[in-house]
Amino acid sequence: MTPEEIFNKLKDKFGESKILSVHNNESAEVDICDPFINIEPLAMTEVAKFLKNDSELAFDQCCCISGVDLGDDLQAVYHLYSFNQKHKICLKATTNRENPAIGTTALTWGISGWLERETYDMFGIIFKNHPDHRRILLEEDWEGYPLRKDYEFPRYWRGMEVTPEEDYGTD
């Protein structure tokens, strides 16, 4: 199915308040872009469930969840693939920076559990109702979310020097 068809199908199911818009290659402000659908962040859980269970869509694998720091907003980008229908789609859920929350997809796809944990670890996006919402790559008591653009590297962590003095504050 083409992204438009998927978009229309989703819009029919969930309404315009949850399925925001669809973007294609022809989008004016970017030169190159895979087509993607904007989703209301808290609706992610049910949209994901529908995407997986609908027989026409049948997105059975979540390839990748990437966080992106857009400056004012934080975004989670979902790349999905269907082994059954051999089609793919990209979903984007944009949430605000102060109180970032996106509905979890971990109950739908097994792999999402870890991918969302990684996104949380690096960007601090909270995934609502995630069954095991912990940091994954960093220590549990690490402060801050390193892949945010305004992240400042700590000088010390648990008494260990993690940033050499000459590099501290320069980056």
Binding site: V30, C33, D60, C64, H79, F83, C90, I111, L137, L147
Partner: protein, 376 residues
């Protein structure tokens, strides 16, 4: 009789354990030998690849991709190069494409050798591991001659390759293909069908089709579960559509479909297919032409936008997601790597219930993780 109170024993497997394939820590709760739960802790090898990318220009990222999956550095280079080439719309010269196929298939064999060699080692068979390693050494000699380095090649650049090769090198590759075939048969005899090995690996760590897809299995792991899916075949990138090769899948011939033996056997058979591809590529390649033709001088023309490109590395689908801000910033705004081993490892929590401690090792070996790539 008085009730005997028993408790679960918590065992810390790793980060320094011989069979966790690097610095992975597993927190096992066991009832004697039976594992009740297994919780992986990652991040001991986290080197901030994605953060580094944000301050490096595209050509400089390539050597960093080497260090992600250090057993298959060529394939990583290629995955990254594919993403940037797609963004910039670069047409790679055909000669470079052939060279890329040859070196990355060689590296795929080298990586699979580690995978099945260490899998045998985990089960206790030392000799097949070293016999296979001899072949890996030959591959490294070849790759060193092509790129100048033995493990971290920095060979496949955006738009081309780093060095040209000679016709003698191609002959040597041909010679290697010939010498490799009997060795893999030998390993089949020595290890694959050995009764003890089969009883250890078959019917252990069974991942059925739906679970494999659900938990993001890709590459040989997915094919071990009986799903015929190979990005080289199903979404052919580069010149893979020119080659004739099979996609080996698990069939459960020694046990159940999707067990550790199937995943192991997929890798063994895949190396044979790689040899086939290399042989075809050696016939197709012509050494005329400039390899630097399409290598961009700078990245000022990088368009604004984003791209997600996936390619088949030995561990499965490596996806590179690049967000670029466009012309003025020659560094990616965001570069995310979808690492196949990371996704495959997530299944451990799920399938480690009720197996024995020895089986944890076998499962871990069969999904072939590289911690450099899991943690990035």
């Amino acid at each position: 009789m008085e009730q005997i109170k028993t408790d679960l024993m918590t065992i810390n497997m790793g980060p320094q354990h011989p069979s966790t394939h690097g610095v992975l820590r597993l927190e096992l709760k066991t009832d004697g030998e039976i594992v009740d739960s297994c919780r992986p802790y990652l991040g001991y090898l986290h080197r901030c690849f994605e953060k580094h990318c944000e301050s490096l220009d595209y050509l400089k990222i390539v050597p960093f991709t080497d260090r992600m999956d250090y057993l298959a550095a060529m394939n990583n280079n290629w995955a990254f190069a594919l993403a940037v080439e797609k963004m910039m719309g670069i047409e790679v010269p055909e000669k470079c494409e052939y060279l890329r196929v040859i070196v990355s298939e060689l590296n795929r064999i080298a990586s699979h050798i580690i995978a099945f060699g260490t899998f045998g080692l985990d089960i206790g068979a030392f000799t097949p591991f070293l016999l296979a390693f001899n072949q890996r050494e030959l591959i490294f000699d070849l790759l060193e001659e092509a790129s100048g380095a033995r493990m971290l090649y920095n060979y496949i650049w955006v738009g081309g390759v780093a060095r040209d090769v000679t016709s003698e090198w191609l002959k040597k590759v041909k010679g290697f293909c010939e010498s490799y075939k009997p060795v893999i048969n030998e390993i089949d005899d020595l290890l694959s069908y050995n009764k003890i090995f089969v009883s250890r690996a078959a019917n252990v760590g069974i991942v059925p089709k739906d679970l494999a897809i659900d938990y993001g299995f890709t590459g040989p792991n997915l094919r071990g579960s009986g799903i015929e899916f190979d990005l080289r075949k199903d979404e052919p990138y580069s010149i893979y559509d020119k080659f004739d090769f099979d996609v080996p899948i698990g069939s459960g011939e020694e046990g159940t479909l999707g067990d550790c033996w199937d995943r192991y056997m997929c890798r063994i058979r895949e190396t044979r297919e790689s040899i086939k591809i290399i042989e075809q590529a050696l016939e197709g390649i012509s050494l005329e032409g400039d390899i630097y033709e399409a290598v961009p001088k700078n990245f000022n023309k990088m368009p604004k936008g984003e791209v997600y490109v996936r390619s088949e590395t030995p561990r499965g689908e490596m996806g590179i997601y690049i967000v670029s801000e466009g012309g003025k910033a020659p560094t990616p705004y965001r570069c995310k790597v979808r690492s196949p081993a990371f996704c495959a490892l997530s299944i451990l929590e799920k399938i480690a219930k009720g197996v024995m401690i020895s089986d944890i090792i076998v499962i871990l070996g069969s999904i072939d993780i590289v911690l450099g790539e899991v943690d990035r």
